[in-house]
Each structure stands twice: as structure tokens, then as C-alpha cells.
């Protein structure tokens, strides 16, 4: 057919979809393995959502507190995820993140320093010791720029060797992938379009790394950019891979709720780490009322003790403002529901009355400037109005922990970063995502490269598949009877925000599924006005079906999981249930329909589970599991 013959074609060994931290790190690794690598970036190169990360990258380097090590980091990660994490991923992450951070320094990164000249590390919610390597409050920007510049340096090497910057690693900026193409059960390539021209492009490659980030654009109040439409999640599903843990979404507890110009924008946890406190409209520091039993031992009971912790963390317990994110988000939600919120539906985050203006400006420079300029709010003078905002999805592509290879009916597909699932369990600790990107980006890139090497012959892209992809992509432009994609997105956001939001109920979730089914009909008929050149309406129309299928996964899994854990709170099942800890909910696609299955969690190795106190495990494990633990302990004792 003429349409397919005119499509631009490229041949690569490894195609990385996504140009955030995970994607760039994966691409670097694939290129270092000698593979011809393409990076496909939905935005311009270097604009990825990673730049939004403020707090830092967690790595147990022990620069500030020498007692820190990978075991402690592993424990914190598992605790944060309420023991639902894939233990092997958490283990690899804790072990490898220091090397990944140090490696960045050889790429030119400049982290803030300790007095002895090492990388400084800061406190953060859920981390036992100061652990986050940081650069002021723009760590994500440093990370993305460093990786971007490393790619440039590799391109300069290639230019010297082969005469072209693009010889072995090329960035396709403002390019969106709409379909993965298969040859049987093997990945054969990716199909997409250039935003600038609207022209289609076909990448033929035996290995694809998904690093597309999250799904937040399905929510009304979100810190996520337009790119976060669950593309990688949906591509993986359609290619035959599984998604796990889709019911777990992290609502960052402190997003701005007022004024609207900054609605959804995050106020970094460091504000609380550096002394900021949460107060309700009555001026009460309410977090003391919301310390759950499992955390009671680690958190202060009085304001005096909490305030002493900032200067003397060894002899005092932590302030409850530094509880894991879901606890803080829930607490704020409860205060607002009880009528003690601000007019805009949030609570006050006050650092102005606790630190000098100078110190605030020095410790939180981006925060200070951001609010001064975006909203004319001076955080050194007045408290901020904050509330929960959709921030991160823990769920994602089910992967082999060591390689990042997708589990399911597909080979040659890898995933890293936010689009992959398992690492963070039911809740992610702040700072763990930047290190996650690096650790698993490198692994996915490396394993994609060796997978490409291992194939005796290249999978072939079928012409019919390309034709179908062209047809699907052009359909919204050719219809003029359907609804506007913007209306549909707003309706989807309303369903997800109102019915599958931070606090969930059975009836509402069932209702959400009905409405999502209706939306599916409407999205199938969406029409986009205008032409193919840089047409955001058309782009949104194509993203909608991804958002929709991912939202269905979230709603279905949320309805199924009858307990509250981490980023999933059921008002009708408010407690954590040890039996549910043994279960991952796995979504897959059968035809068009989302299928949900239960799958047992992999069992932690004895030497890892031995890192925990029995008393702590008792909060999470079933009696049978505890008996097994006791038997192990006894064996070790003998």
C-alpha cells in the first residue's frame, strides 16, 4: 500500500521509548554495549518529567551517617512499600544505587558536598538515615542534564570514530510511539509519529525498552505533565505483557492547592525535612494525631521532642510530618473532610514561622522562587496551602527483577523506571525513584542489548500491522462527528479523581468501571480538528485510549483489593490484611478487555527476611509466614 511505503524507516538494535532518567540511562548502557540505539522522546530532549524531582536520589553511601548501608536502605524500602515490593528489586536497588550515583559524577554531575568533600546526603520521609544525594532542590534537573550531556559525549566519541554524531545513538525528539509491532511473540519494532510534522515513522528493532513514566494525566489534580498518559503501560499491555500493582498510586501529600496557577505543583518533602510543619485551619499541628501503630516507635509524641530531632536525630524520634507519604496524604484528607481545611480544600504548610527567611532561601531556593514567581506567594512570610496531588504510580509492567524483561507473552520488551512495577510495592519512598531510574535503567539497557545479541535472526515487521497502525492513528482526524479530546480527558479525569482517587469505596469503584466503559465507547469515536502538523488535539486524542485502558486497570485492581495498603486506601476495608500481602494483582489484555488475575508474591530469601525484627514482621505477615520465620530463626540459632 502506498501509505506504508512512504513511511520513514529506521533500523536499530535497541529502541528506548522515553527520554527521562530511566530511558537515558538505558540508552547509555545499550550504546556502551556497542548497540545502535535510538531514544524516542515525547518532548524535546532534556524536558522529561525527571526534572521535576526535587528532593534527591536515595543511595546508602553513608557519607553523612556511616551507619547507613544497603541493608538499612533495603529495610526502609520494604517498609515503605508495606512489604509488597518485589524483594529482589528492592535488594538490587539498595545495593547498586551508590555506584549509580558515583558514576554520575564521572559524567560531570555536581552534587552538594559534605564538609569533607563527599556527596552530601539529606533526610527524607521514610529513610532511617540521611540518604538523599541532592543538588539544592533541583536534583532531577541535575540528573537529566548529566545523562543528557553523557549522551552528547558518547555522540562526540562516535563523531570522532564514525564521522557522525548519530552513528550509534540518536535522539528522536518530539516523537510519540503509538504501537509496538510484533513478530509472533517477539518485539519487532515500534511505530509512531513526529509531533512537528505529523509524519509517521517506523523503528525496526528486536529489543524495546519502555521508560515512559507514569499515568497521572488521568487525574484532575496532578503534578504530572501532559506526557504522563500511561503510554508505556498501554503499549506493554497491547503487546502481551502484564501490569502489576496498578491499584497503587501515590498521592503526594503536599501539592499546592491555591492559587490555581500552581495547583498540583509539589512542595517538596524537604520543606518538612527542614522543619516545615502541617497545621489545620485552627492552627493545630495535627500530624501527632495520625501516627499509625506500626510507626509509633519511630515517631515523636510531643512537639518538643519532634523539634529536637532536627538538631539531634540520634537521641530523639522523628517528627510525624516525616511519616511516609500516604500517611501524610490521608491525614490531610481527614482534616479537610472534618472541616478543618483551608478554603481551597487543603491545609497549611508552615515553614515561614520556623526558619529565618535567609535560611529558607538557602535551603529551598527553587521552592522559594517557584512560588514567588508562579503565584506571588512568599514562603518565607506566609504558610503554603497544600493538599494531596496525584504524583506517581507504583504499578507498572511486570518485569524480571534482574533484567527488566517484561513478563507475559512477549519477548524483547524491557521496562525501567516508573513504567515498571514491583520495585516500590504499595508505596514509594521519596528519593527512591531517582535511584530506581539509574539502577534499573542501566539493567534494562544492558539486558536489552544482550537480548538483541542473542537473537539468531531479526524479527520482521508485518506490513499489515503497520497499515493498521496508520489507520488507527489517522482515525481521529478523519472523523468529524465525535467529541473533542479535551472534553473526554476532562470527563476521564473527573471519573478517576472522584471515584478512584485517594480514598476509595466499593460502590464508587464499581460505578467508575461502568463510566469507564461508557468513556471507552466515546473515546473510540473521538475526533480531532485540524491537520497533522503539531496538533495537540490530535495528539491527545491518540493518548486517550492509553489513559483509558490504564485507568481501567487501576479501577479494576482497586475494586478487587479489599484492604488498605500504601497507595491504596479503601474506606470500606481500612486495615492492612496480611493475606493480601501475599498477592499481586496482575492485569493483562484479552482482546480489548482488561483481565485481572491474582499471583503470589515471590518469597523473600532467608538472609533478607532475617534483616527485620520479628515484632515488625508481625505487623505484615500471616501467622503461617511468621511460624516459618521462627523456624528459620531457630535454625540460625542452632
Amino acid at each position: 500500500m502506498t501509505t506504508t511505503t512512504r513511511i520513514e524507516r529506521h533500523h536499530y538494535d535497541v529502541v528506548v521509548i522515553g527520554a527521562g532518567g530511566a530511558g537515558l540511562r538505558a540508552a547509555i548502557e545499550a550504546r556502551l554495549a556497542g548497540k545502535k540505539t535510538a531514544i524516542i522522546s515525547k518532548s524535546l530532549f532534556g524536558k522529561a518529567h525527571t526534572v521535576m524531582a526535587e528532593g534527591g536520589a536515595a543511595a546508602a553511601m553513608g557519607n553523612v551517617n556511616p551507619r547507613d548501608n544497603w541493608q538499612v536502605h533495603f529495610r526502609d524500602t520494604m517498609r515503605g512499600g508495606k512489604f509488597l515490593n518485589n524483594f529482589r528489586m528492592a535488594e538490587l536497588h539498595a545495593k547498586e544505587s551508590p555506584q549509580r550515583i558515583w558514576e554520575l559524577e564521572t559524567y560531570g554531575a555536581l552534587f552538594d558536598r559534605t564538609k569533607t568533600g563527599k556527596i552530601s546526603q539529606r533526610n527524607f520521609g521514610g529513610h532511617e538515615y540521611p540518604r538523599l544525594a541532592h543538588v539544592g532542590d533541583r536534583t532531577g534537573l541535575e540528573l537529566i542534564r548529566t545523562l543528557q550531556q553523557k549522551i552528547v559525549s558518547l555522540q562526540q566519541e562516535d563523531k570522532r570514530e564514525f564521522g557522525s554524531y548519530d552513528a550509534r545513538i540518536r535522539v528522536f525528539a518530539e516523537t510519540t510511539v503509538t504501537e509496538l509491532l510484533l513478530d509472533g511473540d517477539r518485539v519487532a519494532g515500534a511505530f509512531g509519529y513526529y509531533r512537528e510534522s505529523g509524519e509517521f515513522v517506523l523503528f525496526e528493532a528486536p529489543a524495546v525498552v519502555l521508560a515512559t513514566g507514569g499515568v497521572g494525566r488521568s487525574y484532575k489534580v496532578t503534578s504530572n505533565s501532559w506526557e504522563y498518559t500511561g503510554d508505556g503501560h498501554a503499549l506493554a499491555l497491547r503487546a502481551g505483557a502484564n501490569l502489576i500493582n496498578m491499584e497503587f498510586l501515590q498521592f503526594h501529600p503536599t501539592g499546592m492547592v491555591w492559587p490555581p496557577s500552581v495547583k498540583g505543583i509539589l512542595v517538596t518533602e524537604s520543606v518538612r525535612g527542614d522543619g516545615g510543619v502541617l497545621r489545620n485551619s485552627e492552627g493545630k499541628r495535627f500530624m501527632f494525631d495520625y501516627v499509625p501503630d506500626v510507626f509509633r516507635k519511630q515517631y515523636a509524641e510531643t512537639e518538643e521532642e519532634a523539634d529536637r530531632w532536627y538538631t539531634d536525630p540520634d537521641n530523639n524520634r522523628r517528627p510525624p510530618e516525616l511519616l511516609p507519604r500516604d500517611e501524610v496524604a490521608r491525614a490531610i484528607n481527614s482534616e479537610v473532610k472534618a472541616g478543618r481545611g483551608t478554603p481551597a480544600g487543603g491545609v497549611f504548610l508552615d515553614i515561614a514561622s520556623r526558619k529565618s527567611a535567609d535560611e529558607i532561601r538557602r535551603r529551598l531556593p527553587s521552592m522559594y522562587h517557584q512560588f514567588k514567581e508562579l503565584a506571588d506567594v512568599d514562603i518565607t512570610k506566609e504558610p503554603m496551602e497544600v493538599g494531596p496531588t496525584c504524583h506517581y504510580v507504583m504499578g507498572g509492567v511486570e518485569v524480571e527483577p534482574d533484567s527488566g524483561a517484561a513478563v507475559g507473552h512477549v519477548r524483547g520488551l524491557f521496562a525501567a523506571g516508573e513504567v515498571s512495577g514491583g520495585m516500590h510495592g504499595s508505596n514509594r519512598l521519596g528519593g527512591n525513584s531517582l535511584s530506581d531510574l539509574l539502577v534499573f535503567g542501566k539493567r534494562a539497557g544492558g539486558h536489552a542489548a544482550s537480548y538483541a545479541d542473542s537473537l539468531p535472526e531479526r524479527p520482521k515487521v508485518a506490513v499489515q500491522a503497520v497499515e493498521a497502525a496508520v489507520e488507527t492513528a489517522l482515525a481521529p482526524l478523519q472523523r468529524d462527528t465525535g467529541e473533542s479530546p479535551y472534553t473526554l480527558q476532562q470527563d476521564l479525569q473527573a471519573v478517576m479523581g472522584d471515584l478512584v482517587g485517594i480514598i476509595r469505596r466499593e460502590g464508587e469503584l464499581a460505578d467508575a468501571l461502568v463510566r469507564l466503559a461508557e468513556l471507552r465507547e466515546r473515546v473510540a469515536k473521538v475526533s480531532a480538528a485540524g491537520g497533522r502538523r503539531y496538533n495537540p488535539g490530535w495528539h491527545l486524542a491518540l493518548d486517550l485510549r492509553n489513559m483509558l485502558v490504564v485507568s481501567e486497570c487501576t479501577a479494576k485492581a482497586a475494586l478487587e483489593r479489599r484492604e488498605s495498603r500504601g497507595g491504596h486506601t479503601r474506606e470500606d476495608h481500612p486495615a492492612m490484611d496480611p493475606r493480601w500481602r501475599q498477592v499481586n494483582l496482575v492485569c493483562s489484555l484479552e482482546g480489548d478487555a482488561v483481565q485481572l488475575a491474582r499471583k503470589p508474591l515471590p518469597k523473600m530469601r532467608p538472609e533478607l527476611i532475617a534483616l527485620f525484627d520479628r515484632a515488625e514482621l508481625a505487623k505484615y505477615l500471616t501467622d503461617e509466614e511468621l511460624a516459618e520465620f521462627d523456624a528459620l530463626a531457630e535454625e540460625a540459632g542452632n
Binding site: 524536558k47 526534572v51 552538594d112 533541583r138 505533565s225 514567581e373 508562579l374 476532562q490 502538523r533
Partner: protein, 354 residues
């Protein structure tokens, strides 16, 4: 709380376009990007506009708002008069793709040409030791969000397409400065490279880049000027010059940079960049001619020009919004004349030849 406001937005592509009028609802606390999003959701679904973070952190939504280069996400509607028409146009220095989206690939090409960080060979990962005070200087430049507003506003390339091949622009001067100041970077010729290959000499320090930087990086004072100064120190040190006159030897340290553009017969001495003579404040036509003849730009050297005026015959807004009449001093406002010779920031490329 919302009110209807008048917007004029440039719509079109490389074949042309014009400002189109929209009446659009504006609510309290919104920024220009909020309004553009509302327009997309209502009257103009295919209005092309880049954005990502909507928080002033990614540098995607660069555009010109009432003629001033701004990030749309950081331009509060409350900064306009209630009855003021807000006009929004694409960045002028880069070719238009569609509506408010321009082709900024120039910047990525320049980024690729700038030599990367050169790590010390003998320091293994994990053993890097640097003091906070030493990394802070480079960290200032690493705050750059690559919005390219500084590139857009720079007189050397704004409306001067012909200068683009030889000029990297403020964004990449601070990249060079950042590496120059990096405590562990092992390349020692960052300044010379900037002078010889990036066109640092074209910059006449009008500080427009600093003025538009949303991250408030002191591009000129902390980046460009220090880069110029040492490049000049090396090239024009009066004592070295005198020594070379007396002993007929000792070229001043020359750049060892090899240039893709300078490949061929061009000799190193001709690739050493010069500075606009008017940037140094010289009005001696002979010196000017000398400065220009000493530099091989591989193209016609642009003559000093008056600031560009718009169709109303007015100066561009950067000058208009300045707090005094006439253009600012190219030396910066804290400099008094006459300058001490060691602070002169221009070079006589011919000087050390004699």
C-alpha cells in the same frame, strides 16, 4: 470570579500567519499557560504550544508575551492591566514550526558541538572530592533549564541568521563556563575554545540574556565576562607582548583547539577569535579595521549596528523596560571610566604578531 480577556495569538506556520484575536475567560491566580490551555479546550483545539511541567522547571513553554521573552507558565495574568490585550507570539530567533512552536534544533546542535566534561582518568567513581564552595560556581550554571530565552533574546543571532553558524549563544557560554569552573574537569582550554570555536567574542555584553533568564543565572557577570577575561589575559598580556617584541619569540599561549570549520588552510592564529571592537568601547576606526582583519570568520564580519527597532520605530522591550533612557552600558553599570588597562575586555588580535 472569571472575566473575559482579550488575547492576540500568532497562528500560522513557516508559510506565514498572523495574530488572531480571542476572547477568553481568565480566573484569579492564573498564568498565561492556563489561558492557552483553556483556549485549546474551547476555541482552538489545534493551537500548537509546547509545555511540560507547568512549574518553571522544564523550560518548554518559552514564547514572547507582549513582546517580551517569557515562560508562559511563569507569567501571571495579574501582571497585566485588566483591560490590557495580551499578545503571544513564538520565539523570534528560531524558525516557526506551527503557532507558538519553533524549531529550536539550533540549540541542540550547539550543545553537541560543545566539548563534554573530561573526567580525571585516575580518580575512580566514588572518590571524587570537591568542596561545596568550589562546586557552587558551576552549580549556578547547571540551574539552566534550557528554555533558550537567552538564545532568543541575544542580539547576535536575533534577526541575524548569518551569525548562527559561528555563534553558540549565552546558553552554551555558561556551559563552557560551568566546565571551566568544574573542580575536576581536566580540559584546560575551555576559555580558548569558547573564544575560538563558540564565537564568545561576538558577545557585546548587553546583558539581555541575564535579564530574561527565568532561573536568574547571572549569565553575563558570572559566566561570559570571566570567560572573556581570561581569554583576553592570555592573549593580551602587555608584559608578554613586550617580551615577544624584545626577544622576537614567545607567541602568547595559543589555543590548541582544532576546529572542524577551520579545517583546511586556515592557520591557528587566524582562528583565534576577536571581539567586536565596539564592544570594548573603542571608536578608533583603524583599530576596528585591524581587529576585523585579524580574524578569519569565514564570512563577512557584521558591522556594529544600532539596536533593532520594531515596526513602530521603537526599541525592543528589553531596552524599554530598562530603568533609564538609552541602551545600558555594555560594560555593566558598576564600571566607571577610564577602565584600568588590565580590565579592558577586548583584544587586539594583531598585537602579538608585530
Amino acid at each position: 470570579m472569571g472575566s473575559k480577556r482579550q488575547f492576540r495569538i500568532w497562528r500560522g506556520d513557516e508559510d506565514g500567519g498572523d495574530l488572531q484575536d480571542y476572547m477568553v475567560e481568565v480566573n484569579e491566580g492564573e498564568v498565561v499557560l492556563d489561558v492557552i490551555h483553556r483556549l485549546q479546550a474551547t476555541d482552538a483545539p489545534d493551537l500548537a504550544c509546547r509545555w511540560n511541567c507547568k512549574a518553571g522547571k522544564c523550560g518548554s513553554c518559552s514564547m514572547e508575551i507582549n513582546g517580551k521573552p517569557r515562560l508562559a507558565c511563569m507569567t501571571r495574568m495579574s501582571t497585566f492591566e485588566p483591560d490590557e490585550t495580551v499578545s503571544v507570539t513564538p520565539l523570534r530567533t528560531f524558525p516557526v514550526i506551527r503557532d507558538l512552536v519553533t524549531d529550536v534544533s539550533f540549540n541542540y546542535e550547539k550543545a553537541r558541538e560543545t566539548p563534554a566534561f573530561a573526567p580525571p582518568a585516575d580518580v575512580p567513581p566514588g572518590d571524587y572530592r570537591m568542596q561545596q564552595v568550589d562546586v557552587e560556581r558551576s552549580q549556578e550554571f547547571r540551574k539552566c533549564i534550557e528554555c533558550f530565552l537567552c538564545q532568543n533574546v541575544c542580539h547576535v543571532i536575533r534577526d541575524h541568521e548569518e551569525n548562527k553558524p559561528a555563534f553558540s549563544g549565552p546558553r552554551f557560554f555558561i556551559r563552557a563556563a560551568e566546565l571551566d569552573m568544574h573542580p575536576l574537569d581536566t580540559r584546560t582550554d575551555r576559555k580558548e575554545y569558547a573564544q575560538a570555536e563558540m564565537g564568545l567574542g561576538y558577545c557585546n555584553i548587553t546583558k539581555c540574556c541575564t535579564e530574561v533568564c527565568p532561573e536568574h543565572i547571572k549569565i553575563t557577570d558570572n559566566g561570559i565576562i570571566p570567560m572573556k577575561e581570561r581569554a583576553v589575559d592570555r592573549r593580551y598580556d602587555p608584559l608578554v607582548w613586550l617580551g615577544s617584541k624584545i626577544f622576537r619569540r614567545g607567541e602568547t599561549p595559543q589555543t590548541s583547539v582544532t576546529s572542524a570549520r577551520a579545517a583546511g588552510p586556515a592557520t591557528p592564529s587566524t582562528t583565534r577569535g576577536g571581539v567586536h571592537s565596539h564592544a570594548g568601547g573603542s571608536h578608533d576606526p583603524q583599530a576596528e579595521a585591524q581587529a576585523q582583519s585579524g580574524v578569519n570568520w569565514h564570512r563577512e564580519v557584521p558591522h556594529p549596528t544600532a539596536p533593532a527597532v520594531d515596526e513602530r520605530g521603537k526599541l525592543p522591550l528589553t531596552e524599554l523596560t530598562f530603568d533609564r533612557a538609552a541602551a545600558p552600558s555594555p560594560f555593566g553599570d558598576d564600571v566607571t571610566f577610564p577602565l584600568p588597562p588590565e580590565h579592558l575586555n577586548f583584544a587586539h588580535p594583531e598585537q602579538d604578531k608585530h
